[in-house]
């Protein structure tokens, strides 16, 4: 058992030496449910998931089941999925449309905003003294809608989401992730979910900054793509044969909430490739790629550099972002939910660009389940590595030697200037170090 007071010594992010205990120790896991998941802003979904009054989706914040719901007045709420009486779950579906939520144990019924509507025989049994204002479903105290992406926090005292993400984080999220200036993203219905071995941070740190693993972990995928290209077989596979000029982006660098952006593309190689790929989809797709690029350049014309796209990313703590370089590819947004110290669940949904022609939207969704998805040819190889790590790292004697997070240490800022946040060399472990800086700050705060 490792106590929080030891973190100063064993999470030495400055030197890139971090104890495996952060991934494998039960006590740290227990603490981080309160200190990380109880304090951070967490993504709980997208407003497209609750378009109509009565629409809801269920999700988790850390280990806590929650409901994201739009009430009859159109207001969005995040409610803890827990009956106030005995703690039974009141909503059992992945998504749906409802008039209210009822408990199956004693029949307490709640309005969509969480207010207690009534309890069976309440006048008789509670003598008209049941305080309905007090005994509603708990509403998660902080809520923020960032260009459609819904965040919530259990910490009533957390800074505003804009302050939490910082100016740089807001810029990257709004511009490069949610492409707000291009019409934004549209969520496709349905959670794609799978159980996955390993602590949730193993996958979060992978998304926030690990482009080093790609050539080894996904070598089988690359070989298949190459083989099919050489045989000139027309096959829809994610293009991996790009020679892009790409950097590691960091928002919240050295301060605040880390957001990593992996393989930020600065040249026009991906754009040129997209034009070629779009030709297979027809003129409408080509026109859209061209016009989109024009709008994007216009919107960024005051910047010294205008990144086209990014590969991977993560918003601390557990929001994974797969951009896969190209707007022709669906965005895979993934939540890494903790499920005990050595397991997590991936809850994933797909986004496509709202203004894209239908043929592009359909093709974009198809890419998702070939790639970073439970049935894809990429994600399962990552999972396999985590499973092997769990087998090795169960014995605490194997925690004594720190993990090496020292890649590009001291070279973090050797990248072009001109964008909010920091751009540095890629691959790098700068964002993993930033992840553990902030994780330690939250864990140590009393």
């Amino acid at each position: 058992m490792v106590s929080v007071s030891e973190l100063r010594d064993i999470v030495n992010w400055q030197d890139g030496l971090i104890s495996p205990a952060v991934h494998f120790d039960e006590e740290l896991y227990r603490q981080e449910q309160e200190r990380v998941f109880g304090r951070a802003w967490l993504v709980v979904g997208h407003e497209d998931m609750v378009r109509k009054p009565g629409d809801y989706v269920t999700n988790y914040m850390g280990e806590v089941p929650v409901i994201l719901v739009r009430d009859m007045a159109g207001q969005i709420h995040v409610l803890v999925n827990r009956c106030a009486h005995r703690g039974n779950q009141v909503c059992l579906f992945d998504r749906g449309n409802a008039r209210n939520f009822g408990c199956s144990y004693h029949g307490w019924a709640y309005d969509l905003d969480g207010k207690l509507l009534g309890a069976p025989m309440e006048n008789l049994l509670y003598r008209n003294e049941l305080d309905k204002e007090h005994w509603g479903l708990e509403e998660v105290p902080r809520f923020a809608n960032f260009k459609g992406l819904i965040f919530a926090s259990f910490d009533a005292g957390v800074p505003s989401l804009e302050d939490w993400l910082g100016e740089d984080g807001c810029w990257w999220l709004q511009t490069m992730v949610l492409v707000d200036h291009l019409g934004g993203l549209e969520a496709l219905p349905g959670w794609h979910r799978y159980r996955s071995p390993g602590n949730w941070k193993l996958v979060a740190e992978n998304f926030i900054g690990d482009d080093y693993h790609v050539i080894t972990s996904h070598a089988g995928y690359f070989k298949v793509v190459r083989d099919f290209e050489e045989k000139e077989t027309p096959i829809r596979l994610i293009n991996t044969n790009l020679r892009a000029q790409a950097y590691e982006g960091s928002a919240g660098y050295k301060h605040g909430c880390p957001m990593g952006m992996g393989l930020v593309v600065l040249d026009d190689s991906v754009y040129q490739n997209d034009l070629q790929q779009a030709e297979r989809l027809g003129k409408q797709a080509v026109d859209w790629v061209r016009e989109r690029h024009h709008r994007h350049q216009e919107a960024l014309k005051d910047r010294d550099i205008d990144p086209y796209s990014f590969m991977n990313g993560c918003i601390f703590p557990n929001m994974g972002l797969m951009g896969f370089y190209s707007p022709l590819d669906g965005r895979h947004w993934l939540l890494f939910h903790p499920r005990g110290v050595e397991e997590h669940e991936v809850w994933q949904w797909t986004m496509v660009e709202r203004d894209a022609p239908q043929i592009v939207k359909e093709a974009a969704a198809e890419y998702v389940y070939q790639g970073q998805h439970m049935a894809g040819m990429i994600a399962p190889d990552d999972v396999e590595n985590f499973e092997r790590m769990v087998e090795t790292m169960r014995p605490p004697r194997n925690w004594r030697r720190p993990f090496n997070y020292r890649m590009q240490l001291g070279h973090e800022e050797e990248g072009p200037r001109g964008l909010p946040g920091n751009l540095g060399p890629n691959p790098s472990e700068v964002n993993q170090r930033q992840f553990y800086r902030f994780w330690r700050e939250l864990m140590e705060a009393s």
Partner: protein
């Protein structure tokens, strides 16, 4: 009207398919599909009331994409199948009916698949398949397969075939 002999022939086809998969004879397995096959695994969800359908399935492959999945494991670099999973495909509840098109049969079956990986890692997969089998060259080929996995949260990433 499906005859008893036809039914036995189809059951035999499905059992042989299961043996090919459990023997890792994936090239021979691919030969069981027509060139125009559609292979679909829909997303399973618990939904309530009036909601939009899921935006996309878990898998929707054509023959080339199925082939790509097999080829990936044959590269020797596909970590998720190193060492290869041991699988046991148990196929049961087979129903054979006339298909919508002459020369095609609609075949329903249930499966229980245990996947064993490395020392103790495992997954249990249960579900149903709805196949369209087409008469080709005196035998049958799978022209369409829909796999309904009985899980809203999959037990692990998919690296085996159903």
């Amino acid at each position: 009207m499906v005859t008893w002999e036809q039914k036995k022939e189809i059951e035999d086809f499905l059992y042989r398919e299961a043996y090919l998969l459990d023997d890792h004879r994936f090239d021979e397995w691919l030969d069981l599909f027509t060139d125009d096959v559609e292979y679909v695994i829909p997303l399973r969800e618990h939904v309530q009331g009036d909601v939009e359908p899921a935006g996309h399935p878990i898998i929707k492959d054509n023959k080339l994409l199925l082939t790509a999945r097999v080829r990936k494991h044959q590269t020797g670099l596909s970590h998720v199948e190193i060492p290869q999973s041991m699988t046991g495909h148990l196929i049961t509840n087979v129903l054979v009916e006339d298909g919508a098109t002459p020369g095609e049969l609609e075949v329903l079956s249930s499966f229980l698949v245990r996947q064993a990986r490395k020392l103790r890692d495992e997954a249990w997969w249960v579900g149903r398949r709805r196949d369209v089998l087409r008469r080709v060259d005196g035998g049958y080929r799978i022209a369409r397969r829909e796999v309904l996995l009985d899980a809203t949260v999959l037990p692990r990433g998919i690296s085996i075939f159903f």
